[in-house]
Amino acid sequence: MKAKMGVSALILLFVAGLWLVAAPFAVGYQPRGAEYVDATVNDLWLGGGIAALSFVTLVIYAADALRDLARRGKHADV
């Protein structure tokens, strides 16, 4: 149950990371066609990092859960 809450938090973090990447353009503090301002660079790096981190973690979590399932399946056969 608690692990499910953690996974939910990871999904939310992934969405938040995507929002951070889009925020400079969605909110409008990055002028179009201009060089990226400091806030944009910061948001892109952090947003991308958070999204990538949470995504990789979710993949690892799912892979480990699948491996666990497969192991139990083997035991069930024997």
């Binding site: 990871l10 806030a39 948001d43």
Partner: protein, 143 residues
């Protein structure tokens, strides 16, 4: 087990990133001093706050999950909560100490006095006691 640990680490890192996002506008100088918060500052601050809170919640959830698993495997013994002090039994009223003869005499004094008066009135009025010859007061005083 490993997956929950990875999740806890990732959530903690995300929380730190959220904290950085909250202070970034001031640290990087994109927010002018003594001015209203710009759109960029507001966006970064509140996004960072949300990321930090969610990251903290995730880290706590994963940490509790790890703890539960360790307890299930018997690797960690949950701390026994300090036993609550049992409520003190209501003081049972102690059995009344046996009254000493002096106390008894004190208690019976009014009764004796009333009997004496009764006897005196009976004597004066000529009535005789039927039960026993000794005066009641004398019996009481010799006890």
């Amino acid at each position: 087990m490993i997956r929950t640990f990875v999740g806890a680490v990732a959530a903690t890192l995300a929380m730190l990133a959220g904290l950085w996002l909250m202070i970034a506008p001031f640290a990087l100088g994109t927010q002018p001093e003594d001015a209203d918060w710009t759109n960029a500052t507001q966006s970064e601050f509140f996004s960072g706050l949300a990321v930090a809170v969610v990251g903290l919640a995730g880290a706590i959830a994963f940490a509790l999950s790890i703890y539960e698993e360790l307890v299930t495997r018997g690797l960690v013994v949950p701390k026994q909560r300090a036993a609550e002090p049992e409520p003190e039994p209501e003081p049972v009223p102690a059995a009344a100490p046996q009254a000493s003869s002096a106390d008894l005499a004190g208690l019976l004094a009014p009764l004796v006095e009333a009997l004496r008066e009764d006897l005196n009135t009976a004597r004066h009025s000529g009535e005789h006691r039927q039960n026993g010859k000794a005066p009641l007061v004398g019996v009481e005083e010799t006890r």
